[in-house]
Amino acid sequence: MIVGAGHAGGSAAAFLRQYGWKGPITLMGAEPVLPYQRPPLSKTWLTGDGDLASLLLRSADFYRTNSIVWRADAEVMAIDRSGRAIALASGERVDYDQLILALGSVVRALPLPGHDLRNIVTLRTVADADRLKTLLSPGVRLAIVGAGYIGLEIAASARSLGADVIVLEREGRVLPRVASEPLSAFFQERHSAAGVRIMLNASLEAFEGDGAIAGIRLRDGTVIACNAALVGIGAAPNDALARSAGLTCLNGIVVNQAARTSDPLIHAVGDCTYRPLPLYQQSARLESVPNALEQAKQAAADLCGRAPPSPEVPWFWSDQFDIRLQIAGLPFDVAELVIRGDPSANSFAIFHLSADGTVQAVEAVNAPAEFMAGRIMVARRRRPLAAQLRDVSCSLKELAG
């Protein structure tokens, strides 16, 4: 039984079959749609006219062929661990032998006065994206609250559709928690050049309007006029179900390297988990597609008695305008940043080194070779000389080798 039919849950079902799981598989989804790709929702799904079939992780045929029972709109209310069953909102109980929780994350709300006005949206599901899309007609004044990746990707998409876009960020730079300072500066410059207005250190007081949003009032009294708003201030682990069932949770459901929770019959995968990162000897909660897939493999391998996948280098990507950002690794204990390439030429990479010179992470902007080489350096705990890393005439192959 898999609860949650996002990227993690859907992939867990597929890997279980790939690895030889013979028993029945039920995939309980909270949405009315088969597992689908979420990354395009802030990008090509908004700007293009793709159909739902192209968004699906796998076609409907796949689930039939592989005897995976998918149940739509299944809201799971409780886990009865001693009775090995889950309870649905409908009152139905469904038994399980093994349970995988793939509950995802929930967008953080901004409980300011006026938060329930019309045309204030968040983005998590394809239904959210469709709603946002209807708001993005040319000339719309869109205010985006939060300059994280979702916010900036939507800003880029909305701008390319002709919307008037302003981004309001509480901190002193864009991407404050998820990018290095030079990368933040680069994205801020590129968004400004594309006509996105960015207001930093913005302290919000209320959403204003009569029925529908008409403006956002800041603490200093300024009112930002807008007729649509997107709130993108991060997400929290959707672990309430696990907490009330008594599973050990920190910032998410605590799992080991095999995606096992504190209950031997329950695994958990994806955004909802707090997981070990052996490369860094730390634990963290990661929100990314590669992480969802990695943990889906860990759980499926464990359940099928296969060797676990080798520890991975976490990675992320983002597309904004003509910028492809790829990040490998995580910036734990960074002492030095080394920039290779030229930000003004739109192609460069920022290597993050620890105090002893180990490559912890790389942020690569339109620099796929640096991304790939950086991923290898992180995996192999390489300690290249900063001067050589900075020198584009020094071969990446040798530095990674």
């Binding site: 079959r17 395009p40 045929d61 897939l293 492809r324 790939m372």
Partner: protein, 108 residues
């Protein structure tokens, strides 16, 4: 519908129908063929759909343009060979009916 033969590293053959216009990667994923991970879903961002194109098919499939995203990613992919491609970048055509691709030992 055109067919593609996928050969796993261990030699297991899978023959799949892949509709014209969809990618060779998508054909593998829809048929749950092991060995093609496709983490990024076809965005040419991850290099986990690496395949070797059978020599006889290479002229029809072609090689990535020098300096392209695909070529740069492949130049650092573990186990890359001159006939390596990212299968998300190979779009199926009638001309490719019968295509044979082999998989590397791993995608990382």
């Amino acid at each position: 519908m055109p067919k593609v033969t996928y050969v796993e590293f261990n030699g297991t053959n899978h023959v799949a129908d892949v509709p014209v216009g969809t990618s060779v990667m998508r054909g593998a994923v829809d048929n749950n063929i092991p060995g093609i991970d496709a983490d990024c879903g076809g965005e040419c961002a991850c290099a986990t759909c690496h395949v070797y194109v059978d020599a006889a098919w290479l002229p029809k499939v072609g090689t990535p343009a020098p300096g392209s995203q695909e070529a740069s990613m492949l130049s650092f992919a573990a186990l890359a060979e001159p006939n390596s491609r990212l299968s998300c970048q190979i779009s199926m055509t009638d001309e490719l009916d019968g295509l044979l691709v082999r998989m590397p030992e791993g995608q990382h």
